[in-house]
Each structure stands twice: as C-alpha cells, then as structure tokens.
C-alpha cells in the first residue's frame, strides 16, 4: 500500500489518530508515573487499558488474514482494511510497551515483546519496500507476469524456442509442428493449455512459420548450449545469457555467422531470452517484496496464541 503523494490524503487522518493516541497514552502513563515514581504496570488502570486495547488491535490485525480468505464476503473494502491494519498495528506497539511498564518481565512476556518487535519491524520493512519496489518493477520489468506462473511460462517459452530452432534448422518441417492448424504450412502456431475448473482447452496464436534455412548449425549449437539452459534454469544456469551485455554480444556474434534469413528467428530467440531475464529479475524483486511475510505472518500467529496465554495467566494470577 502506497503512502506517499496523492495516497497520503487517505492516510493523513489515520496518522494523526495514531500520533494523538500515542501521545495521549504516554501522557496518561507519565501522569501516573509522576505520582508513583514508576511507570504503571500491566495491572494498573492505564496499564490494563493499554493491554486491552493493544491486545484487541492484535486480534484485529490477524483478522486481515481471515478477511483475505473470505474475499467474497466483502467485509469492508480491502484498502480500508489494509490502512487500518497498518496504522493500528503501529499504534499497538507504543500501547503494549506502555502496558509492559517498560519491563520485559518473565520469559513469556519477554518472548511476547520480542515477537511484537519483530512483527512490527517486519511490517514496517514490508511497507517500506512496497513504497518503491513495485514502481521499480514496473519500470524495469516490462515483461512482468504473474509470479506463480513464471516457471510454467518459462517452460512454455523453452518449448516454443525449441520448435522455432527445429523448424529453422530443418530438423522438422512446419507441418510437423505440434498444434498446427489449417494454416500450419504458413504459420508457426503456438499455444498453451488453459483450464478454468473442469474446462480445459488451448489458446492459440500464430506467427509466420519460417522455412528451413541452410547454414544454421551454429544456431542449433548456440540454442543447445546457451539458450535452452537459460530458458530452463534461468540464473541458476551457467549460460552467458544471464548477463544482458554479454547476451547481446553473443547474439550479435552469432548473427554474423548466420545467413541473413536466419536473423529474424534469431531475434525472436533473443526476445525470449530477454523475457526470461526479466522474469528472473521479477522473481528476485518479488522475493524482496514479499519475504518479510515469512516473519510477519508466522510470528503474528505465535504472538496471537501467546498473547491469549499471557492474558489467561495474568487474569489467573492477577
């Protein structure tokens, strides 16, 4: 969720609320501290209030996960939920620190505070990354696709590239291309099996099918040693195509060794590689955009469970 620019007006009131609520809580606690010479503990009136409100906020924060699971219920707008999640989450930290009376206490309360700190910090980290990583991705990864489908799409890309090379190099003729239709002799037909529930089918597109071109042996070798490994394994391969500069140079060198009619299929292969390289970058950026959730989400659940244990123990041994 973006905070800056034109988005800020939607966050301004929330931010103001958090600042005012935090200041009010501190003032209340400080007023008690001035009397008693110690920050009020969890069982004092302010401490108990802070704990109750902070605990309630944590429960609400976890409800965001539930809200995402039942999107169809439309319990409020997702943006409103997320805004509340962000700002109330930030508010919960000072409230719960005040609830603790600035003491870590025993093992359970120490673990709770540690979890709270990690959850809040990871949330802030995630929020910060979301301010610029998506824009950066938009600028740098024009071939962006759905993250979870990158591996599947890469395999498709590899198959298309292989068919293209086979046709150009004369290993098979255009009539033998899988999925060819009526105009198979004139077009290279590519497509993917798509499914929606039980309905499965092929979505096809066609490109002009090249004829077999003589003198394309370097292309076949290049495909086998560089293109195919890169399309299949991406940056994990040892292909020179991982690096944009070296890839461009390699394709230029190869073009010099191929007859002119083979340049267009070669450019198609280069496009495939560029696309794959962008997907690799997208995977990397996507990892950084979402890896904070590896901490934020699991530890939030642990925090929630232990919070209830803490509340139970605190009420039992009040």
């Amino acid at each position: 969720m973006l905070l800056g620019g034109e988005h800020w007006k939607r966050h301004r009131n929330w931010c103001l609320f958090v600042v005012v609520a935090t200041a009010a809580a501190f003032l209340w606690a400080a007023a008690v501290m001035r009397q008693t010479s110690a920050w009020p503990g969890g069982s004092s009136i302010p401490g108990f209030t802070f704990g109750l409100v902070g605990g309630g906020i944590i429960v609400f924060e976890v409800l965001l996960w539930f809200r995402k699971q039942v999107r169809a219920w439309r319990i409020g707008r997702a943006r409103a939920w997320l805004r509340a999640h962000i700002w109330l989450g930030l508010l919960s930290f000072p409230l719960l620190v005040l609830h603790s009376g600035f003491h870590l206490g025993g093992s359970l309360s120490t673990v709770l505070m540690l979890l709270l700190v990690i959850v809040v910090l990871s949330g802030i980290w995630g929020l910060a990354l979301q301010q610029w990583l998506p824009k950066y991705m938009l600028d740098q990864v024009s071939a962006e696709t759905i993250y979870s489908q990158i591996d599947q799409l890469s395999i498709q890309l590899l198959h298309e590239a292989r068919r293209l090379v086979d046709v150009v190099c004369g290993t098979i003729d255009s009539a033998g291309i899988e999925g060819a239709g009526e105009e198979a002799g004139e077009h290279l037909v590519v497509g993917a099996v798509r499914a929606a529930g039980r309905v499965r089918g092929k979505v096809l597109e066609t490109r002009a099918a090249p004829e077999a071109i003589s003198g394309c042996e370097p292309l076949r070798d290049f495909f086998a040693t560089q293109v195919a490994p890169f399309l299949e394994h991406g940056n994990k391969s040892r292909s020179v195509l991982r690096l944009p500069g070296r890839a461009s140079q390699a394709f230029q060198d190869l073009a010099g060794r191929l007859p002119k009619p083979a340049h267009e299929p070669l450019a198609t292969l280069e496009d495939f590689c560029n696309q794959k390289r962008q997907w690799e970058q997208q995977k990397r950026l996507h990892f950084w955009l979402h890896n904070w959730l590896w901490l934020h989400f699991p530890l939030s659940l642990a925090l929630l469970v232990l919070m209830f244990v803490h509340a139970w123990a605190a009420v039992k041994f009040w």
Binding site: G105, S148, F297, P298
Partner: protein, 502 residues
C-alpha cells in the same frame, strides 16, 4: 522490446492459476505451521511441567526474600482473584484474601488506628516481580503523601500531625524532638562539655585533670591516643563511648537493633567503669578494696557490704573462732558497758562505705539520681545499721531517639560527628553542659545532603521510606509456623489462607 505483449502472455496463464500457491506462499505456510507448532509445544511443555513452568508466566523474578516461591504462583496468589485492590476500579476496595498469605509470615502492625484504610491490600504498596534486588519496602512517596499531604481527610479523628508533601524545609515538619524542645529523659547526669575536655580539666582549676596514669593499666591502651604517655591527659572522642551496633559480636539492649546502624547503648561496664570504678576501700590498708556490682539496688549493696565486712572482721579476730561459747550463758556475766557489739563495728564500716558510694567524690550520685523513700530527706537516708532508704532512679536514655524515623549511623560513618552533634564538643559555642540536652540535629541539617541535586543539596535520597517505615515496630501477632517441606513448597501458605477465601 519483449517478443510478446502482456495480453499474449496472459493468454498462456491458466485461469485458475490463483488456486496454486507460489513457492513463497508455500514457504510462508510452512513457516506459519512451524511457528504455531513451536508455540503450542512450548505451551504444552509448560502444562506438562506444571509448577516449574509457571515461572514462564511470571512478569518478573521475585525479590530475594521470596525467591523460594518463584515458580509457585499460588503460594501468594489465589487464582482469578486480584491480589491488589487499589489499581482497578472493577475490584472492590478492601483487604484482599491473598493478604492472608502474606500475613502468615508478615503480620505487620497497623499503621495508625485512626487512619482511613488506604491502601487496602499488601500488594498495593509492596510490588513484587520487580527482580531479585528490588526492594519491597522502598515505596514511592505517592503511597505516603496520598494521605499525609492532607491528613485531615484521611483520619477518623482530628490529628495533631502536620501535613507532609515531601522532604524539605517547607513541606516536612521539623523533627518532633526539636519542635517540642524535648529534654533527655535519661535520669543520668552527664556533662558532654566536661567529658570532651582533655583530662576532664575545668578551666581555672590547678588540678592537671584526668591522666592515663589514673586508669587501671588494663584500660590505658583503650583510651591512649597515638604518642600519648601515662602522664598525658585522657582525651575522649565520640567513639570512646559511642559505637555503632553491629549484627555480630554485640549484645544489645534498649531497643537498638543489630545491623540497623543504631548506636549501641552506652553502658557503665563498657564506657564508664575505667574512670568511675565502683569500689570502696577496705577497713585496713593491707586488704583489697571491695568491688561493687553496678546496677544493684542500695539494699542489695548494703547487705553485700555487711556480709563482706563481717567476713573480714571475723578473719581479723582469730580469737573469736577459738573462744569457748557456753550453750547457756549465765545472765549478767558480760557487762554490755565494757564491750562493743561486733554488729556495731560492722555497721559503722558499712555506713562509711555507703557514704563513700553515695555521697563521695566518685559516688553513684555523681551520675545517678537518688530518690529517698518513705518521705524523708536524702541526708536522713543513710543511718547506722539500716539499709539505705532511697532508690537509684533507673536510667532511661533512649537507645533510639527518633520515634517515627530511622537513622543509620553506618550509612553516615564517613561524616564527622561534629557536623550533626556539635553540642557534644567542648570547644563548641553550643557545648552541652546539661544531661537534659538533646543533641539531635534538625531537618535543616539533613536537607544539606538529602534533597534533589542542586547547589543547596547533595542529591542523597530524600524519599519517605529513606527514613520512615509504614508498619509499626510492634511484635507480629499470630504468625504461623511451618515445617520445612510445606514452607518450601508454598502449600502451607496456600492452605493457611483457604479459610478466608470466599
């Protein structure tokens, strides 16, 4: 430029792609499962381990005194009943059932009978779980001044005490000893100025004063200052008589608590005897003097002297032992005019000794007040053949002067005595010459150090509990006694309180 448009790429994506989790999603799910499993395992371990695991719920370690029950919450807590009363408005004010568990060992005396019950429960003031070294009796001033800042509203009767807001000249009354110009109730004659003068020498007198040579050889070392010879005057210092009571080695009396930093009470045997020996000379010079035990009543001393002189007389008159005494002496055989009864001899010697003891230069009356009995004058109190008809008024020098506050001399041992007790020094303009003088300094002396750090004060502690305790010094009534096993387990504390649990 990419080979494909976004639309073309989208056409290759299955429409139900969202049903399949990405690797990142799968990782997140597994980590969530692991985190939940670890959390539940910890809770399960805590449940299985029972008491030992309760420590994990604790908001912090107990103070050293209670460390025994660190993992036994119910030694003090009653489940689902607040241990304190004042913090939450949901809880009715008043003594909490859990207080009974405290009172098993700490049956603290009430503060003031006339005070309106604030605070209510033990835990309202004594905050536990603040760490091993936390003090359970060092309360914030708020706990005191919530009442003492406005005593009229917190007392059931009209109080004579002044309101206190904090410790300084303007918000704390002068110490009552100073305010009421109290006199020493000790019934002991003592002149600090004289005793603190070298050799107890009085200006203008030819007497060179009290020299070390006048002390018994065994006492000279104690009073000899560095470089002094036997012909030099005895120079007393504060420490010659006043010593801080320690927890070890001293048998204390008079209310001074060992280890509390109180001054040890001054006693005759320890501090007076060297210069004021209690002995009377024998009837003959070749006999040892008679040592009188300090603290005995005049009647006992009289009997002792009579017995002693009688014994010595019999020892001197050997012939009496050889005289033949008829069992039935004939009347008129011995003429009373020609002989003196032995009783008279003995009585005369006893009377002389008593005059030395009670009326001489080194007499008891030098320090003690003598109170005649039977409505006679003191001069008539000593008569031949009779026990003295007076009592020695029992001394009552307070071992602890502050009635409501505590003062620790050990904590102040780095300070010179003169800064607080200038009157004890012979060269002081306000030197004390009367035993009724009270040389306790006032509040102005304390605030030089005890106040907020500033140009006027040194920054030493000045909170209420630095000097005061809430509960009285009365003995604890109704303390319970437990066997070791039940005491350690805390079960005895718990059971003892059950009777009061609602």
């Amino acid at each position: 430029m990419p080979h494909e448009t976004g639309k073309q790429r989208a056409s290759k994506i299955p429409l139900d792609y969202f049903r399949h989790a990405s690797p990142l999603d799968r990782w997140r799910l597994w980590l969530a499962i692991i985190a939940l499993a670890a959390t539940l395992a910890w809770i399960g371990w805590a449940v299985v381990n029972g008491k030992a695991a309760q420590l994990r719920y604790s908001p912090g370690p107990l103070a050293e005194a209670h460390a025994l029950w660190d993992d036994q919450c119910e030694a003090c807590h009653i489940p689902f009943q607040p241990i304190k009363a004042t913090n939450l408005p949901l809880v009715a004010r008043g003594t909490r059932p859990a207080d009974e568990r405290c009172r098993n060992c700490h049956a603290g005396a009430p503060h003031h009978a006339m005070s309106i019950a604030v605070p209510d429960s033990c835990a309202d003031c004594h905050h536990e779980h603040a760490g091993r070294n936390a003090s359970l009796v060092r309360m914030p001033d708020f706990t005191c001044v919530q009442c003492h800042a406005n005593l009229a509203e917190h007392s059931t009767v009209k109080t004579l005490y002044k309101n206190v807001e904090r410790f300084d000249l303007n918000h704390h009354p002068e110490f009552s000893l100073i305010r009421e110009k109290a006199a020493d109730p000790g019934h002991l004659k003592f002149n600090h100025q004289l005793h603190m003068s070298p050799g107890m020498h009085v200006a203008g007198k030819a007497d060179p004063g009290w020299t070390l040579a006048k002390l018994a050889p065994s006492d000279r070392g104690r009073y000899r200052l560095a470089g002094q010879r036997d012909t030099d005057r005895v120079v007393l210092e504060c420490g010659s008589c006043h010593r801080i009571a320690s927890a070890s080695g001293n048998t204390l009396s008079g209310g001074a608590d060992p280890g509390s930093g109180h001054m040890q009470p001054v006693t005759y045997e320890n501090d007076c005897r060297a210069c004021h020996p209690l002995s009377v000379e024998a009837a003959r010079g070749d006999q040892p003097s008679i040592e009188i035990v300090h603290g005995q009543s005049p009647a006992v001393v009289h009997r002792r002297l009579t017995e002693d002189y009688l014994g010595r007389y019999l020892a001197e008159q050997d012939s009496i032992l050889d005289a033949r005494v008829e069992s039935m002496p004939l009347p008129g055989k011995l003429s009373p005019d020609k002989t003196l009864p032995v009783r008279n001899v003995i009585n005369a010697r006893v009377l002389a000794a008593e005059k030395t003891l009670y009326q001489g230069q080194q007499s008891c009356a030098l320090c003690h007040e003598l109170k005649p009995t039977g409505g006679i004058e003191l001069v008539e109190a000593l008569t031949l053949g009779q026990a003295p008809r007076f009592d020695i008024v029992k001394t009552a020098v307070p071992a602890v002067w502050f009635r409501s506050a505590k003062f620790n001399h050990t904590a102040h041992r780095s300070m010179q005595c003169r800064d607080c007790h200038a009157g004890a020094y012979a060269d002081s303009p306000a030197a004390s010459t009367h035993s009724s003088d009270v040389m306790i300094p006032g509040i102005a002396n304390c605030v030089q150090c005890h106040g907020p750090p500033s140009a006027q004060a040194g920054g030493a502690r000045y909170d209420c509990t630095e000097c005061h305790r809430y509960h009285g010094r009365e003995a604890n009534p109704g303390l319970s006694h437990f066997d070791i096993e039940s005491f350690i387990s805390g079960s005895s504390l718990k059971n003892a309180a059950k009777v009061d649990s609602p």
